[in-house]
Symmetry: C2
Subunit: 113 residues, 2 copies
């Protein structure tokens, strides 16, 4: 069981377009703060806050070497979101299948008469 606070942080991190674009960039490969910030029309301190949100959610991790901080994707964390979504899907698909079966059953009965 994933603590709910974890899912909160992960989905919240994903809810902002700037942060999603950062994740899209990092999916391609690691990058530094300035590289990540370059495409955005935003002051650096504001942008860095987004990186903090991402890091707090653990969707990414970073390391500083000298004065340069490099970020990379932390793939394990995405499972929190993926697993929650697929658990929902399994539940309702099972239910809808059951409903389909029921409809099919009704139709068979109908054609008997």
């Amino acid at each position: 069981m994933v603590p709910p606070a974890t899912a909160d942080a992960v989905f919240h991190a994903l809810s902002n377009p700037t942060r999603r674009k950062v994740l899209e960039q990092l999916s391609v490969g690691p990058a530094t703060v300035s590289e990540l910030a370059a495409p955005f029309d935003m002051q650096l301190p504001s942008f860095v806050q987004h990186l903090s949100v991402l890091e707090d959610s653990r969707l990414v991790k970073s390391k500083k070497r000298g004065r340069v901080r490099t970020y990379e994707i932390s793939p394990e964390r995405f499972k929190v979101a993926e697993d929650w979504l697929s658990a929902r899907r399994e539940l309702w698909e099972a239910r809808l299948d059951q409903f389909d079966q029921y409809v099919k059953h009704l139709k068979e009965k109908e054609s008997e008469s």
Copy 2:
């Protein structure tokens, strides 16, 4: 391409534990406002706001018959989240596979010497 605003709304809707619990409940089957609200220690108007957020994101839909409003899951919308996540995963997995290949390649070279 899904407009980013859509992903914003979907992930934002998913970021709150009350709303996720509602979605868990609705995955099991449709339910009315009062049925959904019952487990939560929250005033009804506050709770109904959560339902509005979910409906705005189109993760759920509702219909009113008489004085009772019934909610149900709207499965298509979940694909927005699922697709975004799986697109990221594909990218970084391709990259990490490539890296694995590279390491393997290095090891082969090493054993030649």
